[in-house]
Symmetry: C2
Subunit: 284 residues, 2 copies
């Protein structure tokens, strides 16, 4: 579909949204995979966390945040939030039929299926994602014989946002969550553990410490970035090189509350400095 109208939006930025700062782990992977592209990132910090809220409420929030990004002009939307990906995709596709939308669940499901030789897959996520069973559904589409166990590890969100990603207390919390989950699999544990929330990569080192050896961690950020690159290429929407200037694209950040906190906590997830002046407050 390399139509003229598609080509005409190729110069626009990619829109990325999340309930807050966790989605910055996805933005980081996107910037690495697509360094020439421009990005708009919106964190709906006024209404986070999405993970404890009902599906209907999260779907409504997703429509409102997407409206802000669409009004600014974007060529593709990334839902960098597992909870929103699990409940908001159908509503967004209906509201914006011309806009390509990529969530994080389908890429995460593909990635874990590729890394599960025995089809034994453990998933940790927020309450909302677990309740929606979106990972199970997506995984079973690829691997109908898979053995899947899921568990809500809601506290990892608060721990990561507090900057408490390491230390004996954090390991104790991880152990309390993960030991019963591991016990649901035969000796040796599952093949892999899916980090089904964009906050969780910040906890990866601690999580690894309490897992049995040989269980690999699957973070959907990288495979999501690959999906976005494929989608853009297929639709002829990669940024024209003539507009690429010196080669590195721009990022503009928006938050629905407290840019100071967004910048301070966001650094944990983005992995590079983030100044409060880079963040624009938007009211929804």
């Amino acid at each position: 579909m390399h139509s003229d109208s598609a080509t005409s939006t190729a110069h626009l930025p990619i829109g990325v949204f999340d309930s807050g700062v966790g989605g910055l782990t996805v933005l980081r992977a996107l910037k690495k995979a697509l360094p020439h592209e421009d990005f708009l990132y919106l964190g709906d910090t006024a209404r986070l966390p999405y993970g404890t809220k009902s599906g209907a409420t999260v779907a409504r929030y997703a429509l409102q945040t997407t409206r802000v990004l669409v009004d600014q002009g974007i060529k593709l939307l990334v839902i960098a939030c597992n909870t929103a990906s699990s409940v908001a995709l159908p509503g967004l596709a209906e509201a914006y039929p011309g806009l390509p939308v990529v969530g994080v669940i389908e890429p995460g499901a593909r990635a874990c299926c590729a890394r599960a030789p025995h089809g034994r897959i453990a998933v940790i996520a927020t309450n909302g994602t677990v309740r929606g069973a979106a990972y199970q559904t997506a995984i079973l589409r690829h691997r109908p014989e898979a053995t899947i166990a899921t568990r809500s590890t809601q506290l990892f969100v608060a721990l990561a946002e507090e900057g408490w990603t390491h230390g004996p207390e954090v390991e104790a919390v991880a152990e309390r969550y993960l030991a019963p989950l591991m016990a649901e699999f035969p000796e040796g544990g599952p093949d892999c553990l899916v980090l089904g929330c964009t906050h969780f990569p910040a906890m990866a080192e601690t999580i690894r410490k309490v897992l049995p050896e040989g269980v690999c961690l699957v973070d959907s950020a990288e495979t999501t970035a690959e999906s976005v690159a494929e989608e853009l290429a297929e639709r002829g929407l990669l940024k024209p090189r003539a507009n690429s200037g010196d080669g590195s694209g721009s990022v503009r950040f928006f938050a629905t509350d407290d840019p100071e906190r967004f910048a301070r906590v966001g650094e944990i997830f983005l992995g590079t400095p983030l100044a409060v002046g880079d963040v624009t407050l938007v009211d929804l």
Copy 2:
């Protein structure tokens, strides 16, 4: 001020609002102190937590939730949320000049001053309450010579909502937060520790375990209930005995998201069973 117009609202319920379920610890104390009164409780669960949000946003939310309660008819409003008490009282007083409003910070400050023989007071609260310095201001009004140290223990909110109020992991988290706070006082620690968030009473037993002996815990729920009883008596707004029926008042619950979760998590804080059928969903 026992005017006729005041007396005419005495039959109305008392409105109580919080960002979620933590304020149920205050409702519990209110029901105990004022068993004949009727209550409307509104938990703004769609937008919790307030503790990590900016003061301006929380003040706006407080006006919206109060509107719902005022439209139903209430004779007095209790802000059963420290964050909202610290930022929303002036705006509410302006918007509803005839409505008596009682927050939890002033009663909490009075209570800790009464229990601090050496004037050494530690306060734990959410990010938002700490940032606003409302406890320091209120305490210093009563005890200008007090030594006050405060610390945000934001994770206690997520722990309490997860139902993780006990266990070695929870003690480890409490220790990591409280040890540096205790170290800010001379040997023996402060006279008392104020639980400056309505979620924290659920963590009281664990908190007590990691405190030096002799440090007492101050929970503002009981003193808030006393303040409400005094305020009602002063204004002639206690419920007329003719309307009291068999003596025990009613409670109606409203939540802005997911009544099922409100009922399930709410029991932790209310201390008595709460059925999902008792909770009405309201949209703000």
